[in-house]
């Protein structure tokens, strides 16, 4: 929140996603948390934990501030928002998503951007670098676009100065340092300063279980067009591969090359100049 002296209270929104636990049995008909009956099949997207770690460390290093977790999900996601509080977030909001279960990225980004607008006061919007299930890594860029805010993705290191934020982000073959004007949107890498997210603790779990998490309805967010842009028709497990590996490794190397080419020819591969 801005005051004339700069940034006195730092408000961070951290967006967390409920995903299917990677240890839970796979079922193509039940790929969204809302499809499952058992809460133990649901877990916090593990990349979001690095983002929570980053948000908490930024506040701890500044000495003040507030971290609020925001999650779009059905009541199966209650566990995820409570875990965010049990890691140290100061509060959380769940946006109810049980009826139509909106799952397409574009629609989700629109809802998350609208929820940030409704919250109103924010200096940083922080995301995990991608989700464990789809891994599209598009949520932070889309929300930044919807809110017209500066963006840095795959951030490994953050420092604050006078309403600006300096980040180091991973690029191919190295890192790049960038300065952004706040409010800004970040996605946090799973490497670097926030590589080891903290655990929950008994003390914070006790607090989390006593914290009421407000539940907002999508219809209250003032989104003009809430029709999903893309709908999932069907999701199937691909057929098992039947190809077998043939190993050609015994005998004279020159003959082995001949054998390899013959085998490939038999399979009808176009060998170009090796005909």
């Amino acid at each position: 929140m801005k005051t004339k002296d700069g940034y006195l209270t730092l408000n961070i929104l951290i967006f967390v996603k409920a995903t299917i636990d990677r240890n839970a049995p796979l079922d193509p008909d039940e790929i969204f948390p809302g499809d499952r009956d058992d809460k133990s099949d649901v877990m916090t997207n593990n990349y979001d934990k690095h983002a929570i770690e980053a948000a908490l460390r930024i506040v701890e290093e500044k000495g003040e501030g507030k971290v609020t977790a925001v999650c779009l999900g059905s009541d199966m996601a209650d566990k995820v928002v409570k875990e965010a509080i049990a890691m140290g977030c100061h509060g959380a909001i769940r946006i109810e998503n049980s009826e139509a279960e909106i799952t397409h990225f574009f629609s989700v980004a629109k809802i998350l951007a609208a929820s940030a607008k409704k919250i109103g006061e924010y200096d940083l919007l922080i995301f995990g670098m991608q989700s464990y299930d789809y891994g599209t890594a598009t949520m932070a860029p889309m929300v930044a676009e919807f809110l017209d805010l500066p963006l840095a993705c795959f951030v490994e290191k953050v420092s604050l100065n006078e309403g600006k934020i300096t980040v180091e982000k991973v690029i191919e073959g190295g890192t790049r340092t960038m300065e952004l004007q706040m409010p800004a949107v970040l996605s946090i890498a799973s490497t670097g300063d926030y590589e080891e997210p903290r655990y929950t603790s008994v003390r914070r779990i006790m607090k989390a279980s006593k914290t009421d998490v407000p539940v907002w309805e999508i219809s209250d967010l003032g989104i003009d067009d809430d029709e999903p842009s893309v709908e999932f028709d069907d999701i199937e497990v691909p057929p098992a591969r039947t190809e077998k590996c043939v190993v050609i490794d015994e005998g004279d190397p020159n003959e082995l090359v001949g054998k390899l080419l013959d085998t490939l020819k038999e399979k009808g591969l176009n060998l170009g100049a090796f005909k």
């Binding site: 240890n23 903290r198 655990y199 929950t200 603790s201 008994v202 006790m206």
Partner: protein
Amino acid sequence: MKQLTKIFKTLNFDKETQEQNEMILDMVYELAMNEIIEKEQDWDEEGAHFDPETKQVSYPSGMMDLYKKCQQNDLFSIIVPEKYDGFGLSYTLWNAVIELMARASLAFSMFFPSQGLNIEIINKFGTSEAKEKYLPLLASGDAIGAMAFSEPNAGSDISAVATKAEKEGDSYYLTGNKIWLSHGGAAGTYITFAVTDKSAERGRGLSAFVIDPKIAKENLEVVRIEEKMGLHGSITAQMALDRVEVPKENLLGKENDGLRLILGSLASSRIGIAAQAVGMSETALQESVNYSMQRSQFGRQIGKFQAISFMLADMATRVHQARLLYLNTAQMKHIGEDTQVESSMAKYWATELAQKVTYDAVQIHGGYGYSREYRVERLFRDARVLTIFEGTSEMQKTIISRGTLSRAQK
């Protein structure tokens, strides 16, 4: 993990407590399975250390870093009353935490049952000074709790202890030898007992104390640590007490009432040993399931042969049975029932089943199971101690049969 949480759902916890239980178990599972289990083989190979020059003991590399994570996550404060910086949560949860820790490493899980017993005994029998001084330290884990009961001539016959306590002014001075001390030399509190009335009938002249090594100083000394068949990562020490000072506030219960007090309390930590047995058995089962799905012989996965699949079925049933036993006994204790006999049943049965489960795990792995590279080899060695420490299976059967016979006579 699902099996464990499924049983928790059948217990009579309110919704909020149930949510807390599940979140705490999730956190412990993550810590155990992401970090502790990775170190387990190294700890077994490195073992605990003792320097005869300085008389200092230490745990294998990296163990204390993970102990610190348990402290940061407030794990030692689960059963400590809120008044003493704890959370006053259930014994059921506490023992499930022990199971999860033992799934990763029996050596690491050794920090828990003795901590629990120290907390329970001091809370129940300690003076208000002792409670205020030691319970917060045990809750934070800044003090590791140890038990110094056995002596060279007092094992199963614990009433034969020869360590004597002489009262001078406001303190007792303890002299004697204690053996098989888990965490000996590293602990912050030792619960022990010693002879205060030589003229009394055997077992009637014993008093229980909390030894504080900060007060005892060099009069409490590690003589050696044991080289064991398994459980290499845990310190098992022999200690000499040479006029160890124990202030009178550290007397537990009444003078000359120590044996009854200690024997009555051991039932509690026996549930923890049963939980350790279940944790190890669960890991042996999981390793066997994974191996039997991955290993092929005679053109098919060995898990598809009836000989192996039936072995897996027996192992899974044994693990489930033992888990029900310890969780039910812990829940009984949580609601305030006497569990003297049931604790012995859980300890006896779960630890004996663990022998069979870890034996079968080695069998399923064949030659690889005999190799140190595979986890089941360590599980088999480590499991052997379970039917011995905290009262042998034979002592448990003595307690169970006495309990059963006394019911028959009533």
